[in-house]
C-alpha cells in the first residue's frame, strides 16, 4: 500500500498491479489473495481522501498472456485519460493532494494493524472478495476504524503548517464543517489539537 500511495502522491495518474490468476501463484504463500485484499483496502482509503479509487487497478495476467496485458494496459490508459490528471480530475489542488497523501502515510502502520487484525480474510474467488469488501459490515468497520483516524490525521497534518479556523480547514480538505468540528472535538479530547483563544483558531497541541 505504501508503494501505491507513494506513486500517486508523486503525481502518477494511476497505479496498475498485475498478478497471476488466483490459484496459480508460483509461491506456496499464494500472496495474490493478500494483494487482492490490499487492493480493496487501498481503494477504500483513496475514496476516503477523495481520490478516484479507479486510479488503482488490479488485473490477473499470467506470464503467457501478453495479448491480455496489452489490452488491459491500453484500456487502463484510456480510463486514466478520462479521469484527467490526478487531483485535477478530483477537484483537489496540488498542495491539498500532497497533504492528504501525507496524512495517509502517517497512519500506515495503523492501517497495517487494522488489516491484520480485522480484515485478514481468505476466500476462494474474486467474487467473494468483492462481496466482502462491498458489504455494509466492512464499510462501516472501515468508516469507524479508518475514516475517523484518517480525518484527524488530515486535520493535524494541515494544522502543522499553520493554525486555522474550522471553516478554513473545511475548505482546504473538502470535509463538511460539521464533520470538521466533530473531528476537532475528538482530536482535542485525545490531546492532539487545542483551540487558540487569542487567534480564534485551532492549532497543534
Amino acid at each position: 500500500m505504501a508503494f501505491v500511495l507513494r506513486a500517486l502522491a508523486n503525481g502518477s495518474d494511476g497505479v496498475f498491479i498485475g498478478g497471476c490468476w488466483l490459484g496459480e501463484c508460483h509461491y506456496v504463500t499464494e500472496g495474490n489473495y493478500d494483494a487482492l485484499s490490499m487492493m480493496h483496502l487501498t481503494r477504500k482509503v483513496l475514496e476516503l481522501i477523495g481520490v478516484n479509487p479507479g486510479r488503482l487497478r488490479l488485473e490477473w495476467i499470467s506470464g503467457s498472456e501478453g495479448m491480455r496485458y496489452a489490452e488491459v494496459m491500453n484500456d487502463f490508459g484510456r480510463q486514466l485519460k478520462g479521469f484527467g490528471p490526478i487531483g485535477e480530475g478530483e477537484g483537489l489542488d496540488r498542495t491539498a493532494l500532497k497533504l492528504k497523501f501525507l496524512a495517509v502515510k502517517k497512519i500506515l502502520p495503523y492501517l497495517k494493524l487494522v488489516e491484520r487484525e480485522r480484515l485478514r480474510v481468505r476466500f476462494k474467488t474474486e467474487e467473494e472478495y468483492d462481496n466482502y469488501f462491498g458489504s455494509d459490515e466492512v464499510n462501516s468497520l472501515i468508516r469507524e476504524l479508518v475514516g475517523e483516524k484518517l480525518a484527524i490525521s488530515q486535520i493535524t497534518t494541515l494544522l502543522a503548517t499553520s493554525p486555522l479556523s474550522t471553516r478554513e480547514i473545511s475548505d482546504s480538505l473538502r470535509i463538511k464543517p460539521a464533520e470538521v468540528s466533530r473531528h476537532l472535538n475528538s482530536a482535542a479530547r485525545q490531546g492532539l489539537v487545542r483551540y487558540d483563544e487569542s487567534q480564534k483558531r485551532y492549532a497543534i497541541a
Partner: protein, 665 residues
C-alpha cells in the same frame, strides 16, 4: 559514490526504430552516479558482451544497467557477463525498453522520453543493489514423470537408462495412453501395439523405474532440485505383489456389460478388469462403481476364485510422498467431445453433427478401436448400431479445430494424416467400400507425410471433397451428409453408412488443476506453456519442470517422442551436478529492528522463519528475533509485506530499491 555503467541496446532495429538510443545514452550519461553510458547494436552478442566486460574493467564500474529486452530473455546472459568481469552478478539490472517501450509505441519522441524514464528508474534502483552471495542447494537425482503415455514412457526410459531413478505416475490402471489405443500409425502403417507394448514392458522391468498406476498427483511442494510430491495411489482392490495376472477373476466376474473406456465404450468389460490384454501392469482393478460386492455387499466371486488370494476389498487409497529433483509433465491429450458443452467453457458444441445421438457417427479414436486387431470387433470395421459393414463412409475434418466461432482457433495437427490413414485402413478391410473426406485443406508437413496422403487418394481411392458439411441427419439406417464442394461449386449429398469426425485435440481434463498444483502456467485452452516458444520449448517457466508431448500442444508420435527425449536430456543436465546454484533472492531479518512479534512466521508458507535468541556476552537473553533460513525460503516476500516494523527485507526486492524506482519516476 557509485560508478554505474549503462548500456543501451539497439536490438538490431527492434529498439532503435522507435527509440532514439543515442539520445537515451546521452541523457542517461548525465544522471548522477552514472560514470559511463553508451549504445550498441546487439548487446547480447559476443562483441556486445565483450564491450560490457571491457568497460567494467576500464571504467572501474561499480554497477551495471543494461537497457534492452525483457529480463526474462537475457538477465542471465548479462549477469553472467558481469560476473566474469569480476562484479557480483546482482549488481547488474536490466531496463526493459523493448517489450515495455519500443514494441508498444509508435511515436518516436514519446517512446524516447519513456525509455529515458525506464532507464532512470533502474539506475536509481541499481544504486541500492547489494552484493548477494550465491546459495547452493543439493540436487535430488530422482525424477518424477507424470503420465504414462508414449511421452512419459520415453522420458522415463531415457532418464532411467542414464542410471537415475524415475517415479512414473499414471492415472489409468495401465500405462500406454492413447498410443496403445491406436490401430496402425502413419506414415508407415506399422501396428501401434507392436511398437508400443515392448516399451511398456521395458518400463515395467526397468530396475530404475518405480511405477505407480491408478495414481494421481495430490500435492507438489518444494523447488527445482528439491521437490516433495505426494502421490495418491487409489485403491485397486487387488494386491499388486500377490496377483499373478492369471485373469481367472475376470472370466468369472458376473458383471460383463460395462462399457470399456479403452475401447471408446463400444467394447464391454467386467467389473474386475484390465483395460486391455497387454496392460502393464497386468494386474486387474475393481471398478467399485459397477462391482456387485461394492454395490450390494454380495457376490465376491473374484475373491473366491483368486488362487493367490490377491483380491482385497478392504484396500484403501494411500498417500505416498516421494522426493524428486525434476518433474516431467506428460499428461497428453483428450478428444473434443461434441455433444456436451462443459460448464463454464467458452467452447461451443457441434450439435448439428449428431455425435452422441446418432450411434454411427463416431470420432477418430473410436474408428481406431474398430480398426485395431485387438479391438472390440477384432479389427473389422462394423457399425456400432447394427454390426453391419459400412459400404459408404464419410470422414469430416476440422471438427472443432480451426473454428474460431466455436472457440478453438488452433489446428489439431494430426487429423489430416490420421484421416488419410483411416481411408487406407478402411479400403484394406472393406474392399468394395467407398470413403469420402470433407476437408478444408490437407496439412501434411513431415517426412513422407505428403506422399502418404497422396497415396490415400491415388492408390486407395479415397474421394476428397474440399468443403465443409452443413448438416447430417439419420434417414432410415443411413446418415445423410449434406455439404458443399467449393472446388466445383456444387452441393453434395451422400447417403453414408458411417460418419467419422476428426474432432479437435484438447488437453486432458483436469490439466488446469494439475498445473495449479505444479505452479506452471497454461494457455486459455489449458495447454501448458513452455518457457520460450522457440528456444526453450520443453521447459516450463517454473524451474525444474519440463514438458513432453501433447499436453503442451497437439503433436504426432515422432514429435512427442522427440520432445520426451529432449525433456529427459534437460533433466539429465540438471542431474549432471551434485549441487546447483539458487538465486539468492531470499528474505533477511534486520535483527536490530525486529521486535519478535513473529507475524512473518505466521504468514510464511515455506516454514522458513525460525526463532533466534540473541544473548549478550554473559549469555543473558536480550530478545528473541525472527531468522529466515535461506535454504528453505522461497523468496515470495510475504513476510516483508507483513512485518509491522519493516525489519524483514527480501534481497533483490528491498523497500529501498522499490522506493528508489518510484521516486525516480
Amino acid at each position: 559514490m557509485s560508478r554505474i555503467g549503462v548500456f543501451i541496446c539497439h536490438c538490431g532495429e527492434n529498439i532503435s526504430r522507435t527509440v532514439d538510443v543515442e539520445r537515451v545514452a546521452a541523457q542517461v550519461g548525465n544522471m548522477p552516479g552514472v560514470a559511463f553510458a553508451t549504445d550498441y547494436k546487439y548487446m547480447c552478442s559476443d562483441p556486445g558482451q565483450t564491450l560490457l566486460k571491457k568497460t567494467i574493467q576500464e571504467q572501474k564500474l561499480s554497477h551495471v544497467v543494461v537497457a534492452a529486452c525483457s529480463p526474462r530473455m537475457h538477465e542471465k546472459t548479462f549477469r553472467k557477463a558481469v560476473e566474469s568481469a569480476g562484479l557480483n552478478p546482482f549488481l547488474c539490472e536490466m531496463a526493459n525498453i523493448r517489450e515495455h517501450c519500443s514494441w508498444v509505441h509508435e511515436n518516436r519522441e514519446e517512446a524516447t522520453v519513456k525509455a529515458i524514464e525506464i532507464v532512470g528508474m533502474m539506475v536509481e534502483r541499481v544504486k541500492k543493489n547489494r552484493v548477494l552471495p550465491a546459495i547452493t542447494v543439493p540436487v535430488t537425482k530422482r525424477s518424477l514423470v507424470i503420465g504414462g503415455g508414449i511421452a512419459g514412457i520415453q522420458a522415463a526410459l531415457d532418464i532411467a537408462d542414464c542410471g537415475h531413478e524415475v517415479i512414473l505416475v499414471e492415472r489409468e490402471p495401465s500405462i500406454g495412453g492413447h498410443m496403445a489405443q491406436l490401430s496402425e500409425t502413419f506414415p508407415t502403417l506399422d501396428c501401434s501395439q507392436c511398437i508400443m507394448t515392448p516399451k511398456m514392458v521395458d518400463v515395467a522391468n526397468h530396475p530404475k523405474i518405480k511405477l505407480y498406476t491408478f495414481s494421481e498427483i495430490e500435492l507438489v511442494e518444494g523447488y527445482i532440485g528439491n521437490f516433495q510430491v505426494t502421490i495418491k495411489k487409489k485403491a485397486r482392490s487387488v494386491d499388486e505383489d500377490t496377483c499373478t495376472g492369471c485373469g481367472v477373476c475376470m472370466t468369472k466376474c458376473p458383471q460383463k456389460k460395462i462399457p470399456n473406456k479403452f475401447d471408446q465404450n463400444i467394447g464391454m468389460r467386467t467389473a474386475i478388469y484390465v483395460p486391455f490384454p497387454q496392460a502393464v501392469p497386468n494386474t486387474p482393478v475393481i471398478d467399485r462403481d459397477n462391482c456387485t460386492w461394492f454395490k450390494s455387499g454380495k457376490c465376491g466371486v473374484c475373491q473366491k476364485v483368486c488362487g493367490p488370494g490377491a483380491v482385497d476389498f478392504e484396500q484403501q487409497d494411500r498417500l505416498i510422498v516421494e522426493a524428486v529433483g525434476a518433474i516431467v509433465v506428460a499428461t497428453g491429450f483428450d478428444l473434443y467431445t461434441i455433444d456436451e458443452k462443459p460448464k463454464g467453457s467458452p467452447i461451443k458444441g457441434y450439435g448439428e453433427f449428431g455425435h452422441g445421438k446418432i450411434p454411427d457417427v463416431i470420432d477418430g479414436m473410436t474408428f481406431e478401436r474398430l480398426a485395431s486387431a485387438s479391438g472390440p470387433t477384432g479389427g473389422r470395421i462394423l457399425r456400432p448400431s447394427d454390426g453391419k459393414e459400412p459400404k459408404q463412409i464419410v470422414f469430416i475434418q476440422c471438427i472443432g479445430s480451426r473454428a474460431r466461432e466455436k472457440g478453438i482457433s488452433y489446428c489439431s495437427k494430426v487429423c489430416c494424416m490420421y484421416t488419410a490413414k483411416h481411408t487406407m485402413l478402411y479400403h484394406h478391410k472393406v474392399h468394395d467400400g467407398q470413403a469420402y473426406v470433407f476437408f478444408m485443406d490437407a496439412r501434411t508437413p513431415g517426412k513422407s507425410y505428403d506422399e502418404f496422403w497422396r497415396r490415400s487418394i491415388e492408390e486407395e481411392e479415397a474421394v476428397y471433397i474440399r468443403g465443409m458439411v452443413s448438416r447430417l441427419y439419420q434417414k432410415g439406417d443411413k446418415i445423410v451428409v449434406m455439404g458443399s464442394d467449393i472446388a466445383v461449386g456444387v452441393q453434395v449429398e451422400i447417403e453414408a453408412d458411417m460418419v467419422v469426425l476428426a474432432t479437435a485435440v484438447m488437453p486432458q481434463k483436469g490439466a488446469d488443476t494439475l498445473a495449479q498444483k505444479l505452479g506452471i502456467s497454461y494457455d486459455k485452452y489449458h495447454f501448458y506453456s513452455e518457457a520460450h516458444a522457440k528456444l526453450r520449448p520443453v521447459e516450463c517457466a517454473t524451474a525444474g519442470i519440463y514438458l513432453a508431448g501433447a499436453c503442451q500442444g497437439p503433436k504426432d508420435i515422432p514429435e512427442t517422442v522427440s520432445q520426451a527425449s529432449a525433456a529427459a536430456a534437460k533433466v539429465m543436465t540438471l542431474f549432471s551436478k551434485d549441487k546447483m546454484e539458487r538465486e539468492p533472492i531470499v528474505a533477511r531479518v534486520r535483527e536490530a529492528g525486529c521486535v519478535g512479534c513473529f507475524a512473518c512466521k505466521k504468514v510464511c508458507a515455506y516454514g522458513a522463519v525460525e526463532e533466534k535468541e540473541i544473548r549478550d556476552r554473559q549469555g543473558n537473553l536480550i530478545k528473541v528475533v525472527a531468522y529466515v533460513n535461506p535454504g528453505v525460503c522461497g523468496g515470495c516476500g510475504t513476510c516483508q509485506a507483513t512485518c509491522p516494523s519493516k525489519s524483514v527485507e527480501l534481497d533483490g526486492y528491498t523497500d529501498e530499491q522499490i522506493v528508489a524506482m518510484i521516486e525516480a519516476l
